[in-house]
């Protein structure tokens, strides 16, 4: 996968859907993961967060009446002796409307993976969450990975020009003419 080997990771899967959880478990196991914890309720997942060192969490959006997002907010805001709030969190979801995606992003997820997912997508999201971490932001109204993707993580990203004022200068020149 790159810098961090999957075999070194402890991965927690919080998903009530046993088939999807089992499938994800099998995919991660096939990738070489040796420490995978399955939780079918969020209370159990929260206990694990406080008692076990975890490298990455997969959590289902619809789990326990959409409490998956509250769980993510708790991770980001409540300190644990075992895990820091920057822990990579990958949200699994079958609901991909824009409102749900924004909700998830604002709750502080690291990556979102939509169901159905393929092994290749799982590998890509895991690699991105673990090896290409975005700057962690803590403000009054948001705690989580920077919601903007950096240039080094996305070759197509062109926002830097605007931030340096290049685009604004170009626009100003165009307006002057």
């Amino acid at each position: 996968m790159g810098k961090t080997e999957i075999s070194d990771l402890t991965i927690l899967i919080a998903d009530k859907n046993s088939f999807i959880a089992k499938t994800l478990f099998s995919i991660l196991e096939a990738f070489g993961a040796k420490r995978i914890i399955l939780c079918d309720d969020l209370d159990d997942a929260e206990k694990k967060f406080h008692n076990v060192e975890i490298d990455c969490i997969f959590v289902d959006f619809m789990m326990d009446k959409r409490a998956g997002l509250d769980f993510i907010r708790k991770i980001r805001t409540k300190p644990s002796t075992k895990n820091d709030p920057e822990l990579p969190i990958i949200l699994e979801t079958g609901v991909t409307d824009i409102d749900s995606v924004i909700l998830a992003r604002d709750a502080g997820v690291t990556e979102i993976i939509s169901k159905p997912f393929s092994p290749a997508q799982v590998l890509q999201k895991l690699d991105s969450a673990i090896n290409r971490r975005r700057e962690f932001i803590q403000t009054d109204d948001f705690i989580g990975p920077n919601r903007r993707r950096h240039k080094e993580n996305n070759s197509e990203w062109a926002g830097d020009n605007d931030r340096r004022g290049t685009n604004r200068e170009t626009q100003k020149k165009a307006m002057d003419h």
């Binding site: 859907n17 088939f19 999807i20 089992k22 070489g32 169901k115 092994p119 590998l123």
Partner: protein, 131 residues
């Protein structure tokens, strides 16, 4: 377990694992649809939404596109996300179509399933335009 699998090996192993899970899922599909039907008949909306959501995710993962769409429709109507309220008969038709589609998962009948879906599609679309 080999700690130094390359990407191709990892994906090949994972694809095999998904295939196995898919076979297991097909074996349980009939029972799962029956459970969904019971939740709907008992008007247990919350359970129906969760079951339909789970089936939708699984059916799409394991290659049952029409089952996926009908379960999505059921999830949405029991979540109250519809354009026009469905008639009870439309819900029953959708459930019956599901039951026929999964009646023999080992020998799927594409032609029959396509015809069934085509038959109920106007109802699905009437209730939720973007289905």
């Amino acid at each position: 377990m080999n700690e130094h699998l390359n990407k191709e090996q990892m994906l090949a192993r994972a694809n095999n694992a998904v295939e196995k899970a898919g076979l297991e899922f097909s074996g349980e599909l009939k029972k799962r649809i029956r459970e969904l039907e019971i939740a709907i008949h008992q008007n247990n909306r919350q359970e129906a939404v969760l079951m339909a959501y789970n089936l939708e995710s699984e059916a799409s993962t394991f290659g049952w596109p029409r089952v996926t769409r009908i379960c999505k429709w059921l999830r949405k109507i029991f979540s109250g996300e519809f354009d026009l309220a469905p008639e009870a008969e439309e819900v029953l038709d959708a459930l019956n179509a599901l039951k026929v589609m999964v009646s023999n998962p080992e020998e799927r009948n594409e032609q029959r399933d396509a015809a069934l879906f085509e038959k109920i599609y106007p109802s699905l679309k009437r209730v939720i335009s973007e289905i």
